[in-house]
Symmetry: C2
Subunit: 255 residues, 2 copies
């Protein structure tokens, strides 16, 4: 079957997570699937890469049309390693997840899952990230599988616009349908917990609370709140084009 598409799969919860198993099950009937996922959990690792330290790759399974590897590295390391040393080419598609935890709104900027998707997108690969809005690693994901399968089949059949990837989030419970929207404006306010002191050093644990600043019904946070799956098309160009001209007037010296 030379027409089987080459589908690359990764995540940030690690190669042993339930979410990546379920995603593999959806994708294996749709092409040749190669998984390179972190050896251990890498949530909150964003787009970090491993510089100045070696990366260790272990082959877990190798079957016809299915291979699985674990990498002692970040999700973006997994993407780069896979393209260069496992696939020896760019895959036809990249899917990441299913992430245990929400990647709506500003969460996408901290997410290793969405960083892998953005990395694929930056290298020209149609890429999709799936997340369930429930942090519990043992939470039931079965109810979102028909939606993930439908979206995956659509992307494999019709690809994606150039330089665009998808951030797909599922509400935790019955899903009323799919809505396409934008990344909700919002932020995490910090709330560190102080613990002991260690000589001169103060010791803190990161905590925080999400603040939604976006009342639009098309904001992904609000789509999830209404029990719909949200799809946000994303790009890796962070330029604020709306202020480009005013910033030119302000900062350029025309001499």
């Amino acid at each position: 079957m030379p027409d089987k598409p080459l589908i690359f799969v990764t995540n940030d919860d690690g190669y042993l997570s339930e979410g990546i198993r379920l995603l593999e099950n959806i994708l294996r009937p749709l092409g040749r699937v190669v998984v390179v996922a972190p050896q251990k959990e890498m949530s909150g690792q964003s787009h970090s890469i491993t510089v100045g330290k070696p990366l260790k790759l272990t082959c877990i399974r190798k079957e016809e049309f299915f291979e699985e590897y674990a990498l002692e590295g970040t999700p973006v390391d997994c993407v780069k390693m896979a393209f260069d040393k496992v696939l020896h080419r760019k895959p036809d598609f990249l899917f990441a997840g299913i992430n245990h935890g929400s990647n709506v709104s500003i969460n996408t900027i901290y997410s290793g899952t969405m960083a892998a998707v953005m990395e694929g997108c930056s290298e020209g690969v149609p890429s999709v990230g799936f997340s369930l809005c429930n942090d519990d690693k043992k939470s039931n994901m079965n109810f979102c599988l028909p939606f993930a399968e439908k979206i995956a089949k659509d992307v494999i059949a019709n690809s994606l616009p150039e330089d665009v990837c998808l951030n797909v989030n599922f509400p935790d419970g019955e899903i009323k349908g799919i809505r396409v929207g934008h990344q909700a404006k919002g932020y995490w306010s910090e709330d560190f917990k102080v613990s002991e002191k260690e000589g001169e050093k103060s010791i803190f644990w990161l905590g925080g609370e999400y603040n939604c600043m976006d009342s639009s019904p098309e904001a992904d946070w609000n789509i999830i709140y209404k029990d719909y799956a949200s799809i946000v098309p994303m790009q890796v160009d962070f330029t604020a084009y709306k202020v480009l001209n005013s910033m030119k007037e302000r900062f350029e010296n025309k001499n």
Copy 2:
């Protein structure tokens, strides 16, 4: 002087780097400066945060209108820690750098310096990152200081548009002036070096080569190439608005 603005400074090269010293020197005449920077180098750490591990904070210096702290964490940890436990409020301005190494084009997505800037921006703080396009930690930065000072003074006097931060890069050498542009389209192609094997594990070192895909004279990569300092206004909303309507037609089930 109750009117002195509260200026927060961080970086990803660590609190001992030359670049942050030079930035402090520029900013100290302009307000009350508080530095919280990583204890050790955190390049390539992007927007990663430290979850499930404690963060250790050490006070290095405390003078009138100037404080310096080192944190055993990432640049984004430094921002969050500073806002919550050092400043006990949001600062009036955030400056990051001066980074030893280019943050033009796709580099911004891997950069800890720009992640700190994006974090400040997401929390509503006018934020600016400075980088010199030379990876050598000992490279001369003096020639870019007048430009950094000019931009810093402008931002402190006039602030920035809502939800917009600045990514400022300096070419390595004589600077012809300032140009405002967009994040160049481009990517790093992987080129891992294989070293020894360790039992079942293959060992690799990350390497790569930058590929510029953007011929526009307004792309930051090309601005730097022409020996101008580049300013790219950036936002933390990654939504690809240009395809929002076509994606709605494609994925929404209207029932």
